[in-house]
């Protein structure tokens, strides 16, 4: 009798236990994500500064200012330029290297480990190293270019070269991570597909475009979207490498948000929040569009 009672109370328990298990995460996410998210939207309609004087609602003023702010449009253009320079090359390089190293042996294991190494290192430290290597006066890389017949290249100090160079360093840092994700995806493709296509006379290029790429669409989707979100939020390497210069040529949206809110007077938190809300909307839209593009691909190709 008592044992029976015992088991009934246990049957009732899992649901209660679920709320218990969830509560720490729920509280943390509510306090540190959802409340700040709501607050960001509210602040963006106010005139709040870092000195936290009483703020007033100013309606759409900050958003209207964004529309006519040349520095915002410059930052948006730079952010998109970074995305276009970085993302395609990064994903393609990651995929090609993954295919080249997809067999598992001692050599490929070694290469994978080396290529992944930059991904483990902090972007800050890596950026310091690259800024020294590319320094026009003391860097070895401008010197090598001079020997090859390209003297006087300024790299990060040239407003036309700076962004491509920053994108290149980012690819150098991150392609190994993407490569490993693709190797994981490749290993889930049944070997029999390749064997069957070999019987049909397909060469390696055919196999790459007709088997590997179509079957990797979900993984490519994951890499492209995470990479795109990351690119739109680019900050660390630019903060260290160029601080947004020369002549604002590498100032991205997040650099501009940081500068507006935390670095330059009048520390306009509301205007910075408004730009952040706009950035959030841009990220949402681009993510949804590309996700739709890839999911339609998934069904067509398979």
């Amino acid at each position: 009798m008592s044992r029976n009672h015992h088991s009934i109370s246990f049957l009732r328990k899992p649901e209660k236990a679920a709320y218990f298990f969830l509560s720490p995460a729920a509280i943390i996410l509510a306090v540190f994500v959802f409340i700040p998210l709501g607050a960001a939207v509210i602040i963006s309609f106010q005139n709040l500064t870092i000195y936290l004087d009483p703020a007033h609602f100013v309606g759409l003023k900050n958003y209207l200012n964004i529309l006519v702010d040349p520095r915002f449009w410059n930052a948006l253009r730079n952010t998109l330029l970074f995305l276009v320079l970085e993302m395609p090359l990064h994903v393609i390089l990651g995929l090609v290297v993954a295919v080249a190293l997809s067999q598992t042996n001692l050599f490929t294991k070694f290469m994978r480990s080396v290529f992944f190494l930059p991904a483990v290192c902090s972007l800050t430290a890596i950026s310091i190293v690259w800024s020294f290597l590319l320094d026009p006066n003391m860097g070895t890389i401008p010197y090598y270019f001079e020997k090859l017949g390209f003297p006087g290249l300024q790299f990060l100090h040239d407003s036309h070269m700076a962004m491509p160079v920053v994108a290149g360093i980012t690819i150098w840092k991150n392609f190994g991570m993407t490569m490993i994700i693709f190797i994981g995806g490749l290993q889930s493709i049944p070997q029999s597909y390749y064997e069957a296509s070999e019987i049909d006379g397909a060469n390696r290029t055919d196999q790459f475009f007709h088997i590997t790429v179509p079957l990797l669409v979900p993984t490519i989707n994951f890499c492209v979207i995470t990479n795109m979100i990351g690119s739109l939020q680019v900050f660390d390497q630019i903060y260290v490498l160029t601080s947004g210069g020369p002549l604002f040529s590498t100032e991205t949206l997040v650099m501009y948000i940081y500068d507006t809110g935390f670095k330059s007077a009048p520390y306009d938190l509301s205007y910075a929040s408004a730009i952040a809300v706009v950035l959030f909307l841009i990220i949402m839209i681009i993510t949804l569009i590309s996700n739709r593009f890839f999911t339609s691909r998934e069904t067509v190709d398979m």
Partner: protein, 260 residues
């Protein structure tokens, strides 16, 4: 492939050699790759001029606590989502996934104000707490718990285990590989993060390695050798960990793309 190998390794080899260069080696033209002599001056200078040990201690406390706490919090939430039916599960899980799409940049200003009001700005509590629950971690642990055999907890209930015991003694230990992956991902992202600690800390005593280094380099007051030496020192702990636990790093990352 070999060219790529050279391009990837070149900065690391140059960095290691350069930390042992005398300061005069940086002032010559043409610049040379190899040292004229070897010296540990740079490391000595770093040691005496930079609060590197403090940065290191802060980084370990910050990323270590986040790793341990988020493993616990994310696993518990992931377990509830994976194995228990309860009211509001779908809505709550959707909300968790939504947080993955919110960029940190939109949260950072209100978060700064919130921590200020809570009086924990520039403290470890302020740095650690917001990172203790993480959508990616919940998602990862949920995938791991979902794939466990169906009647495990029924058998445990018959044996008289309560829900907490089932989680801690049976289910959680079975998800060790996912837990290791989560620990590594969490450690990597928090150890290397820049913007987050840069904004939520203001005094040198609270800076992490990334934030401390970035501000020091931004001031351009220290010499070349010591700057490079401190960059190397900041990367070394994770690089050493990677060297010994490579398998987990690579396996962990390889599976993340497939689960989404």
């Amino acid at each position: 492939m070999l060219l790529l190998l050279v391009i990837v390794l070149y900065p690391f080899v140059w960095l290691i050699l350069s930390t042992f260069k005398p300061e005069s080696d940086f002032a010559v033209y043409p610049p040379h790759f190899f040292n004229t002599s070897f010296t540990i001056d740079a490391y000595v200078k770093v040691w005496s001029n930079l609060p590197l040990l403090m940065f290191l201690k802060n980084t370990i406390i910050f990323s270590g606590s986040v790793m341990v706490l988020s493993l616990l919090v994310d696993s518990m939430a992931g377990y509830a989502f994976a194995r228990i039916h309860f009211k509001g599960k779908n809505i709550m899980f959707t909300l968790v996934l939504v947080t993955m799409m919110i960029p940190f940049q939109i949260l950072m200003i209100p978060l700064y104000l919130l921590l200020y009001r809570m009086n924990i700005l520039n403290t470890f509590a302020g740095l650690i707490l917001p990172r203790v629950a993480d959508a990616f971690g919940i998602f990862l642990m949920r995938s791991a718990f979902v794939s466990l055999p169906k009647d495990l907890e029924e058998a445990a209930r018959v044996d008289g285990f309560n829900e907490l015991q089932i989680f801690f003694r049976i289910m959680f230990p079975l998800c060790k590989p996912a837990a290791i992956t989560l620990c590594i991902m969490s450690l990597m992202s928090n150890w290397n993060d820049l913007l987050y600690p840069l904004i939520l800390t203001s005094s040198t005593e609270m800076r992490t390695l990334s934030a401390g280094l970035a501000t020091l380099v931004g001031q351009r007051t220290i010499e070349y050798g010591p700057t490079l030496a401190s960059a190397l020192v900041s990367m070394l702990p994770l690089a050493i960990l990677y060297f010994f636990a490579q398998r987990y790093f690579i396996q962990g990352i390889a599976t993340t793309g497939m689960k989404s």
